[in-house]
Amino acid sequence: MSGYKETALKESCFRPGSTLCPGCMESVAFQNIGRVTDNGIKTIFSIGTSCAEVSTLAFPNVVAWGRGDVPSDDYGKSFAIIHNVFESAPTLAEATRDVADQLTHLGALQRPVQIISASGDGGAFSIGLRTLLHTIHRRARVTIVVLVNEIFANTGFQYSPATMPYADTSTTPADGTPGNLNPPLDYIHLAMAAGAGMVAQLSPAHGKMFVKAIERSLEVEGTAVIFVPAPCISGWKFEDGQTVEIAQMGARTGVFPAFTWERGKGGTVKDCPLAADQRPSIEEFLGSQRRFAHLVAKDRETGRISARPGREEDLERLRSWVQENVERMYRLAEMKQ
């Protein structure tokens, strides 16, 4: 297992030239997944339709992918991408694994392959929940990466099952109403309950842990599922250059704590204490995003972020949701099976 710096020096198969928004966390995630998979084993990606797909695989200029000028028969450096519709990334990865296993069995495939499926949270949790859970349930030896930006960013920022309570999206507009009222899907528990071998919730803002989790996910028995919280600069509406900061803040305040879990070993919650008073207050996370502008406001003079008049109750409800979320994470971490 290599360290953070060694990984930074590796050659990513995700190249510049994608048309993702400036500062998109998905491209940071892909950069690092691309670096970790530069380990001498051929990688096969199956990518479902999402921002990450339409912005990087724009025919005929697929310049966003490639790994240097290596010859096509350089097996260790080579990788393949299969694109399929929204919900099909996990099942396609499973099918690819089955074919690879059969080819190995027949002696046609001499060297192993590693298979990574990537989809967005809309694709994985709305239309694709069925395929996601079945792939996990069938214990396919694949890594499933779900880029959770809590929004259908590709189609115009509609609500997704992972959207935070009270968030303003185009289908839950905070226009006289408090925004999204559905509590998000407990996807981590779902993945664990379905039988995943490894589950993690990590963003590249926790660089070292993210890199380690991806490395581990490629070795683990059974299905590894990695949920990557991906702050969406256009959907969450924050300023340039804040992506990493917001991802860190979201993990520290308990909105999406850094979490890793392995079947049989249990898990850990990092960088996010159980007691609410030991964590930064959620206002700090909410204040920098305009999707919560109806809920909190920043005082111009003191710089303090607090609830807007009449929104105090909503904010308290959100605070207790965050506390429940953190407590649930700690409970999940204690589970061994």
Binding site: P22, V28, F59, V63
Partner: protein, 327 residues
Amino acid sequence: MRVIDPRQRLESGVLEMRGDGKAGGGLVLAFQSLAALFAARPEWHVQEWPFFSSARRGANIRSFLRVSRRPVEAACEVTRPLLTLLMDEAAARSADFAEGVPHGGTFVINTRRTPEECAQHFHLSGRVLAVPGDDIGTQHLKHAIGNISAYVALTEAVGGLEFDDVVETFLAQLKKRRIPQQLLDRNRDALHATREAIVEGVFDFARPGDHASTRFEGYGDLPLGAQTRLRLSQNNKTATFARSGFRLLFADPLNACTGCSHCIVNCPEGIIRFEPDTARGVRVTGADVSSFCKLCGECIAVCPENLFSEGRYEEVWDDTHAEEVRS
């Protein structure tokens, strides 16, 4: 050269307009407001639509508008507009905003430069209106957004429209988008401030063959997989997504880089340059900003030594590059 009056064209046939800008700059709002302004009157038929690719912030986008007394039957993009708008100077790096405009057409440009400078630089023949929209936006809205000024300048270019209608239509469009009242008032100030700031002149700098519109010879001529060449440039040089007029700078005169690798790991484009270093493991030497840096600012934010910064840089006014764009 004779200047063709847009108002006259409006009375006699179809007035076609086109706007070039960058996604997130408010071009769509400006054109929608203009369409609403005409559509409010029963005698006009209006057709308006924006065109953009899967790219979001910062990518080139185009807006089209047709106004006529008769029903508009054409259903294709505007290739020979009489009136054209350049909403973002940097958008001219990827697309020729004056393409297909006849001699004597009207050009509206959101710029700090004078109309003459623009006409000379972009080789324009006709009536040129320049308006420092980004400055007006910064002054009134604390945000360098030029759509308000571009919209007012377009209505001035057409002429014969009631200024009160012009203002109210724009504000109505903003209201539809759930903009708070306080911001609406500041927009109103910006709309009024624009009127005095428009500078115009008539110039003749186009050489034969400049801005010639390409002939449409069937879909076989289009680049593979692209609806128009606007969809993406052939090389995906996403540096054009960067905020106009700025670029990333790197300076490490004291050799302060600690080799923490945060910038390398957190760069969405993977364009940080580095070299191996025995003591630190790695030493960052800069960033390749020429082609792909979108100026997202992550490296500026994560560097513990503050070695990255952004600085003013107006590539669009660099003549050598302009030649390349026009050809």
